[in-house]
Symmetry: C2
Subunit: 417 residues, 2 copies
Amino acid sequence: MAMSTSRAASRRTILSAAAGLAAHVWVPRPAKGYTTADVASRLVQAPSGVGLSKWDLDTPALCVDLDRLEQNIATMQAAARRFGIATRPHAKTHRSADIARMQLAAGAIGLCCAKLSEAEALAAQGIDRLCMTTGNLSPTKIRRAMQLRKTSPTFIQAVDNERNARDLSDAAKEAGVTADVVLDVAVGTRSGVPPGEAALRLATLVDGLPGLTLRGLLSYDGGAQHIVGFETRKARTLANIEANAATCAAMKKAGLNTEIFSGGGTGTYNMQHLVPGFTDMQVGSYVFMDMQYLAIGRQDGHPVFDDFASSLTVVATVVNNRFPGRLTTDAGAKALTLNVPRAGVIGEPGADYSASSDEFGVITFKEGPAKTYAMGDRLELIVPHCDPVVNLYDVIYGIRKDRVERVIPVTARGKSQ
Amino acid sequence: MAMSTSRAASRRTILSAAAGLAAHVWVPRPAKGYTTADVASRLVQAPSGVGLSKWDLDTPALCVDLDRLEQNIATMQAAARRFGIATRPHAKTHRSADIARMQLAAGAIGLCCAKLSEAEALAAQGIDRLCMTTGNLSPTKIRRAMQLRKTSPTFIQAVDNERNARDLSDAAKEAGVTADVVLDVAVGTRSGVPPGEAALRLATLVDGLPGLTLRGLLSYDGGAQHIVGFETRKARTLANIEANAATCAAMKKAGLNTEIFSGGGTGTYNMQHLVPGFTDMQVGSYVFMDMQYLAIGRQDGHPVFDDFASSLTVVATVVNNRFPGRLTTDAGAKALTLNVPRAGVIGEPGADYSASSDEFGVITFKEGPAKTYAMGDRLELIVPHCDPVVNLYDVIYGIRKDRVERVIPVTARGKSQ
């Protein structure tokens, strides 16, 4: 993460950019503290949307601003259209069938999943066109993947080694299915088959194996997404993927299917179309944004990457205000993770938020506080990194103009297998 | 966390100390990858305990070695007896009704909870004698706490400010219950009422309020638990709590109830009895241990704190071995958190484990590897910090001699409200 130098400089700017979220602030005292069950029963009574205030939720409460979420999905879809490529958003970010449906409705050609149990959970909620971006290695996982292929015939899975390709072929035959397969071709050294010779050999093998249909290749550059500064990010992204683009071209030349050449993420969404043969983007975080992505910088050089609006927040409660220069909240590492940059306190650009206690957050102030906080008061936090934070919660409260409109289950919460 | 200087030095020593875990290693190739449902149905078929191998579990799999867990509980209980105080183990560590029951059966006088939803979840599974170590501030939480007091008459809750004490009193009257209350008296500046005058005033108020019964005080020193080096840890612990001990004495002198004077944790379990008036220890991590606690050092000066055995591990799968000097696994931040010291790879003291990707772990080697790893091979990891890791999983597999004996639900997983 190369963001440490610019972090301090842009925290104020980032929080100013996100301030729109606080425009409708109406904080009841005392905040009531409604649970998910309370909210659900109220929504049944008043489905018209005149819901509870988000400030009255039991805390820590994970919230998404629906106007911003919808706008983010529309903005990304419009950008992809303009760039002449498609989106295949990564569900590892939200793990939610409801948000997956919104993305598909907006024009996404499918969704990515990181883990098989995640794909199974989403498929069980009726989400199809799922593409697993990692391989299934164990016999049980392979059998389950073939079962999923049976019930969800648009399911695609990744492969990155010969042994696994042969295992998939055997399992497909045994299950009586033809399995759609994409090559995971490495960008960097984390996952996948290296581009070039090895990838081409594997693609040829997969193409020839019974029970498998080669659909193309994946090339996700996880390391490039958070590079600070658009020009550096662009140069590195395009350099990193060059060998993969050459592999795609070689596959095509060899008569192998390259109808899918997928990768990229929120940080590189506006450069992936420059990669020859590229078909679709595995964008994830754009739906929510977070402190990490806000800090990577915009195409025009502005330090805040606000092409998408920060929509995901945690509402927390002040549980102690007795000690000078600090506040304690009820949102610690179990509510926010330990990712950096740390959570941003909306309306308090001079605040530093430490979630290093499991159960408590501790706020200290470089400047401010902007107001006086009583015990029981609510605060709203921009999360450090959206994916692992969402994974800590069973539900996301869908908020419109500070009112709870819906409860969004985190369908695949904890599905990391 | 003041452990950075000694961390590198003791990783090898720590992993050697934990090596006993790997004594029964039998790694099938390929590992089958059984899911929780598979395991549950097998256990029904063969409840005698001749279970599946832990190496055959679908991964990442959270496992606890039952021999070690039982031994840890017995060791702590014996130590407390020797020291002449009691244990009131903190359930925030395991969030499990099954492990709570083991602790109570061994002689714990009750259990602590950090959050109301955690207490409710455990009480719903029949766990009583729960003591909430943080206050309930919102009207809904207060009402729920009184409800819990009704159904679980041994429930105790903390209070640290006058307004909240009055709110609790009103709610108790309204609910028709008498609520048992302990003062949370601050050690440091994170939570609680400051010791001395303010605490005494609050204790007197609580004692006089209708609907409330004052039971004593809590004084948890979170900051002391991980101080490296026994003598430093002891000196700081005893100095930090001096004002609280004086407060306890003053309460007693004023005729206020101090039958509970509770605090301490795994790192200070062998010094809390030196605090005048102290009654019981809120030990948590001792059941599992983790890389953080292993590194704090033993009473005799040995760098590894192994009074309790490391029992909690994550079994992970190697998903890539293609790139020189590194391995990729399927256990990233969503399976292990970002706490430091990082996960320890059992049998590979020269390995550094990075979980900084959400979905992947990356192992690099300063020395070794001790063996050659194929894709699909299993590895076993000691977790960085047990509490937040457990909170990521729905179940812990209870393992005896490498076989799955039982499935332990994480009863209050995600209950951070």
